[in-house]
């Protein structure tokens, strides 16, 4: 199978996965609004949590994928890792934006303020800024080899940075509720809410995979076209 055929096949897979994930998203909405109990203290505003937290998860996942594939690129110098890393960064920007917009929408009614310098919110802001910096840097180079190498260096550095940012803000101060899911003993969310959250996380993970497959296929196809154009001119 040629590279073009593989890319087209993976684009199709991406479309199918994205379609299924979008169906899943309506399930999440319906479930969150109709079948999940209203949170006692936060009221209806808490419903946005079922989008906010999974979007943050998908953004973080994209960030980790970009960072790890950057590292793999630097070790192997195989371009395919760079193409996946950059596609993942672009998808990650979308999820970070969802996270950064739903956060204040939730925060205003619950905390009485649009923005709070909480550790997770601030870390996500930085992840967003690092993604944008990464993509701006990529745009600054014409040669794809230099672009891949330099942005991979930034990707690896950024991966190591985020834990430091998290700790810094956490020590500075935190308003956010305690971690609700990954508590060692038992999750503190009631069963129905937890189920909705887990479904939503699965849906956002699928969305991430679907977007990534499509974006990556597009990058590969563009790459193939460039290669053919230049070869034809040479």
């Amino acid at each position: 199978m040629t590279r073009r055929e593989r890319a087209i096949r993976s684009a199709r897979r991406g479309t199918v996965i994205t379609g299924l994930a979008l169906l899943g998203l309506t399930v999440v909405y319906v479930r969150a609004l109709v079948y999940t109990p209203v949170e006692r203290l936060q009221g209806l505003a808490q419903k946005i949590f079922y989008v906010h937290a999974p979007a943050a998860w998908a953004g973080l996942l994209a960030f980790a994928v970009t960072g790890l594939l950057s590292l793999l690129y630097l070790i192997t110098r195989d371009r395919k890792f760079d193409l996946v890393a950059s596609s993942s960064a672009e998808v990650g920007v979308a999820f970070s934006v969802v996270m950064l917009t739903t956060g204040p929408l939730w925060g205003k009614p619950v905390w009485g303020t649009w923005w709070t310098w909480d550790a997770r919110l601030t870390s996500t802001l930085f992840i967003f800024l690092l993604f944008v910096g990464y993509l701006v840097l990529r745009g600054a180079f014409n040669d794809f080899e230099i672009r891949a190498r330099f942005s991979a260096v930034l990707g690896v550095m950024a991966l190591a940075l985020v834990p430091f940012i998290h700790v810094t803000v956490y020590w500075f101060r935190t308003l956010h509720p305690e971690p609700v899911l990954l508590k060692p003993e038992r999750p503190s969310l009631p069963g129905a809410m937890l189920t909705t959250l887990l479904i939503s996380i699965a849906v956002f993970t699928a969305l991430f995979i679907g977007f990534l497959l499509m974006r990556h296929a597009l990058t590969v196809l563009r790459d193939i076209r460039e290669e053919e154009t230049v070869d034809a001119n040479a």
Binding site: L74, F126, L129, L130, G133, V136, L137, A140, F141, I146, R149, F150, A152, V153, L154, V156, M157, A158, A160, L161, F164, I165, V167, T168, W171, F172
Partner: protein, 242 residues
């Protein structure tokens, strides 16, 4: 005759620590010599530092925020931006006439070149900091003299972390157009942890808090410096090759 293939030249492991030290000192010495000749970057950074210290002093409600509350943040904002002015210069210098190619043709290892550039930048930023520190103490009337050693330690740690990452990134952005804009965009997220830690430490030091209250931030700052110095050193080779 020693034979080197194109694959063997990329090794970042020092051939011998003496060679590394010699190259490192040569590169740093050369940078400082060039700086001493032109002096533009040094005086620009210094004047810039004084201006920022002055503006920040007036950029507050003096009845609500005391000098001592403002001082730590003002100090580190000043150091950060003044330092960044100097960092861009470090690789622009190598870029003109492609002098960096001369370095790369020589047997100097990327490790030695990186350490030399870091040392040169550290000296440059360190001198700017040491000259503006007394002005800071004067302007903000900070009772620091008894704790000066501790403050200098914090300045040394934070500056080392800042310069190591900054040296790596200035080598990246110098290859782009608009490098002056690109450097802050890429570098500032990486300065967030060390600068916040340094501000918190400075705040406690000028307030004469007991040492116990410093250890948390101090260990975070130290961990940052160690991890990012090492990472920058390892990744620098990937920037230098073409």
């Amino acid at each position: 005759m020693p034979s080197r293939s194109s694959h063997a030249t990329g090794s970042w492991l020092p051939v011998s620590s003496y060679d590394t030290l010699r190259t490192c000192l040569a590169v740093a010495g050369k940078d400082l010599l060039v700086e001493q000749r032109t002096k533009t970057a040094f005086f620009s950074s210094l004047v810039f530092a004084i201006l920022v210290l002055t503006i920040l002093y007036f950029a507050r409600d003096a009845t609500a925020v005391s000098d001592l509350d403002l001082a730590p943040g003002a100090l580190w904002v000043t150091f950060t931006f003044a330092g960044m002015l100097g960092l861009n210069r470090a690789f622009l210098l190598e870029r003109e006439n492609r002098a960096v190619d001369g370095l790369r043709l020589s047997p100097a290892t990327p490790t030695a070149i990186f350490l030399g550039k870091v040392l040169g930048n550290l000296a440059f930023v360190g001198i700017v900091e040491l000259v503006s520190l007394p002005l800071f103490i004067l302007f903000y009337d900070v009772p620091i003299w008894r704790q000066l050693g501790l403050l200098l330690l914090v300045i040394f740690l934070a500056t080392t972390g800042f310069v190591a990452v900054g040296t790596l990134f200035s080598a990246i952005v110098v290859r782009t157009r608009f490098s002056e804009v690109m450097l802050p965009v890429l570098l500032l997220p990486f300065l967030f942890p060390p600068i916040v830690a340094a501000v918190q430490l400075t705040r406690r030091i000028v307030a004469l808090r007991p040492f116990d209250e410093l250890t948390g931030w101090l260990s975070m700052l130290t961990a940052f410096v160690i991890i990012f110095f090492t990472l920058s050193l390892l990744l620098f080779e990937a920037i230098l090759e073409e």
